[in-house]
Symmetry: C2
Subunit: 178 residues, 2 copies
């Protein structure tokens, strides 16, 4: 049976320094899957074995998650050639997914960071977003979303850290932060 598609797919951006950007995108994925949508989550700059990757496997084939990154943190100011190559791979997959229009919701997690530090070219990203089929909802997350991305978006939420336990020295915790 043909599933019902969105009549109009919009573009959502989650940015800012507060906790909740990737997490919000995961929640969108969960909700969309619950309503019968097909969701693809492409993670830029991330390669760790995460809770979201494990949970996604339980919601396959409705939710697909693919992380492009090494288990180490990328040096954003001076990325290694492998990191640049992985960002390029992620971008190529994102472009294919958007163009194909087979998924109702495509999430480009941390792409804002990759854009802000020039790991992926802004013009190419703007172009693939504009060219996508009308029914594809797209969500972009990460700190430092460039103004051109914000201008193109239909919705932008800034996650503002009123209070953060990182400042109290709490490390990222398995099951909560990853």
């Amino acid at each position: 049976m043909e599933r019902e598609r969105l009549s109009r797919g919009l573009m959502q951006v989650y940015t800012g320094d507060g906790k909740g950007k990737t997490t919000c995108a995961l929640g969108l994925a969960l909700r969309a899957v619950g309503q019968g949508f097909k969701v693809y989550l492409v993670q830029f700059l991330k390669g760790r074995d995460t809770g979201e990757a494990r949970a996604a496997a339980r919601l396959a084939p409705d939710l697909t998650l693919k992380a492009f990154g090494r288990p180490v943190l990328v040096n954003l100011k001076s990325p290694a050639p492998e990191d640049l190559a992985l960002a390029r791979e992620a971008l190529d997959l994102a472009r294919e997914l958007l163009a194909a229009g087979d998924h109702d919701l495509v999430i480009l997690d941390e792409i804002n960071v990759a854009l802000a530090y020039g790991l992926v070219p802004l013009e190419e990203v703007l172009e693939m977003l504009k060219q996508r089929p009308s029914w594809v909802e797209v969500v972009l997350t990460g700190r430092g979303a460039p103004p051109e991305l914000i201008a193109l978006a239909d919705l932008v939420t800034e996650m503002r850290p009123v209070k953060h336990y990182y400042e109290a020295g709490v490390p990222g915790r398995r099951g909560i932060e990853w």
Copy 2:
């Protein structure tokens, strides 16, 4: 096999007028389930058949979602007796869950709104949060989180609407907003 518990459960609050508060809590639920945690999501003021409820069923018994509300919007300034009774039921369940400590993550969705409009008593909520076992992470969402709640929290993110498509007349969409 006994599952590994959090060494210290913290209290997270998501508030503000932007999109992403409930959604972020859903993402936390998904990630926690992926890491083998048990999660309970109590929804205040909500009774609609949602994507999150359907998706939660697919992650049972690790994720349980129970919504306390009628399918209509609550008149917050003058709630009906049924709405007050449902908020009380939700609160009673929340207190039991927190006290039992059987779940690693307990989410009290939209409780901030119920607190802000006096549908549930603030003192009782603060008390049950303080009394919970040390390993229970608790997440509270909704606009208008009272200052006393923010003071008690370990993490507070304000979702700030930089741009929202509601203002362009886009209605809440199945699979995206519910």
